[in-house]
Symmetry: C2
Subunit: 343 residues, 2 copies
């Protein structure tokens, strides 16, 4: 053994020991235990195995392994109302407290009725109202203040049906997919129509997705200084990126600069991202989450005979495109053994 110096011996030991660990890991159990056996699970496992096995014709180099996930309705519950809309509405009482004259002015008055339990008031709020409320509650403050406010709300707010924090209403099977992909060298991104800064406030703790891997609808910021000369950024109402529909592939190019190999969505707002992903060369996997489990979650969308709801945007045309283009449709009812970790 004298021929080999100490460092060489150490390297050999690392190599041999690593191989033992690899052998042990590969004999381990199912990376997707909350999934029932079926086409969806099979497609995910085959995708990961083929794109990460050296020598496989579908092999994807580590630096190109990008996977993008819509958030609302794909990673967590989006019914009866988007979480961020709830955030905006629940900021209104504090606004009215600061400026009591707003209490009698629409849309603030409408929101107050809604929060008192008058669900019909929701119908009165137009998209323009919501945009106005979004600007008033989510811009004009330093980015750090907005993040802390959003974090605080997220820690306290509860979903009306489950009476649990929204961050516990993530889909366990999708959390498993995120972890499985990361364990295989994929960078997992959230690509959401929701506000980028809002989602960043909780994505790292909730999904293990860091701020720099959240692509969302984004406004500008303005650089300035505090009175004592400290530089900071203020959130602007000016829209930079509407990260919905064609905005999703455009946002992906702006923020990532690579075409994803895997993408998951659940609505027409994800259509172009799923097309763009599937349209690349080599192995590409596009998937749609179908909400068809009225008992354990919600049922909306036209497939499998379910009526299209006003909120759901899983249209027949989207389902047809999925079938035609080889996207995988994930049935929450049939493919998911468990939906939430707390079940």
């Amino acid at each position: 053994m004298k021929r080999f110096g100490f460092p060489v011996a150490a390297r050999v030991l690392v190599f041999v020991a690593s191989m033992l660990l690899v052998a042990q890991a590969s004999s381990q159990t199912d990376p997707l235990p909350s999934w029932n056996d079926g086409a969806a699970k099979k497609a995910i496992v085959e995708f990961v195995q083929s794109t990460t096995t050296q020598g496989n014709p579908k092999f994807v180099p580590a630096e190109e392994r990008v996977a993008t996930f819509d958030q609302d309705g794909t990673l967590w519950v989006e019914h009866p109302i988007y979480t961020q809309i709830m955030y905006v509405l629940e900021r209104v009482p504090a606004l009215v407290k600061a400026k009591p004259e707003l209490a009698k002015v629409a849309p603030y008055s409408t929101v107050l009725e809604l929060l008192k339990g008058d669900r019909a008031a929701m119908e009165k709020l137009t998209e323009a109202d919501l945009m106005k409320l979004l600007a008033v509650t989510s811009t004009g403050m330093p980015v750090d203040v907005f993040r802390e406010e959003a974090k605080k709300w997220m820690a306290e707010a509860k979903h009306p049906r489950w009476k649990k924090p929204y961050t516990e209403l993530t889909y366990l099977p999708m959390q498993e997919v995120l972890k499985y992909l990361r364990a295989n060298g994929y960078k997992t991104y959230i690509v959401t129509g929701g506000g980028q800064d809002f989602v960043r406030a909780y994505a790292e703790a909730t999904y293990g997705v860091p701020p720099e891997q959240v692509v969302g609808t984004a406004g500008g910021t303005t650089y300035g200084y505090t009175k004592d000369g400290k530089p900071f950024l203020t959130k602007d109402p000016k829209l930079l990126l509407n990260n919905n529909n064609a905005g999703k592939p455009e946002g992906i190019h702006l923020m990532i600069g690579r075409r994803p190999y895997l993408a998951v969505g659940n609505s027409t707002g994800d259509r172009q991202m799923l097309e763009y992903t599937k349209g690349g060369d080599g192995a590409r996997l596009s998937m749609l989450v179908l909400h068809d489990d009225a008992k354990r979650e919600y049922a909306y969308g036209p497939a499998k005979g379910l009526p299209a709801s006003k909120v759901g945007t899983f249209t027949q045309a989207l389902y047809d495109e999925a079938t035609k283009n080889g996207w995988i449709v994930i049935s929450m009812k049939d493919d998911w053994k468990k939906i939430f970790a707390f079940e």
Copy 2:
């Protein structure tokens, strides 16, 4: 030894062997061999050691380790003219070949004179001319086509002074800093006033910085389909992000969402990024590269008695701000033992 199963034994072997490698690595030599001993080198090494040592009051958790670097003049040569401007100018003959009537029209005619060697023609080109040429040469095509054109040019073009590819004119001491930071868990970003797509075309091969870690001046894109239905993105002339001056911290927030712990620049266009970085809590290091080596590279900027040139934008005010705020000024002449790898 029978008490320990195979996997446990393997883990012990990995641990012991890793410790041997660590011991070997820490006895290894200087991570910054192209730097002379001095305040700049000392500041970098102290920053890295203190922010990555558990228990040190300046410790920074791994996920927050973000370092941002300007490119032109900070990571590679920017004289006598920005590389991307050379790209734009050298695209003109092909444009004129496709549309011969342009040969007699300004600014195309001016560029043709310039490329024939009439350096005075450069003075005739206004910023509006350059913007027009940029739009004509760098938008209107699919993003993939632009990337391939930029890559091809970069492989063939040569710097007028050294007659070498631009990608060989990176500063070896800065390449060492990039590697040293990455080896210590920092994510290294390029934050450039140059075009994001242009810099992405070569940043991975040149600096080990992947596309998703290049933040630059960015235009929009438009989603569309080829005749046979393949989705793709076309580069738009519409400006989304002017990544200069205050645009740098704004771009950092948009694309990264974290305040950097270390930033390096070399001009007034980097001022706000350096302020924003240094203005954060805890250990923060802002640095300015001073071009004061006329012999080995170029001398421009007002410090150390050098005259401000028309191209250089290292002003006296910037130097004063550096001194006042505790930014480190890197003297190319004094701090860098070697400037280029080929020396």
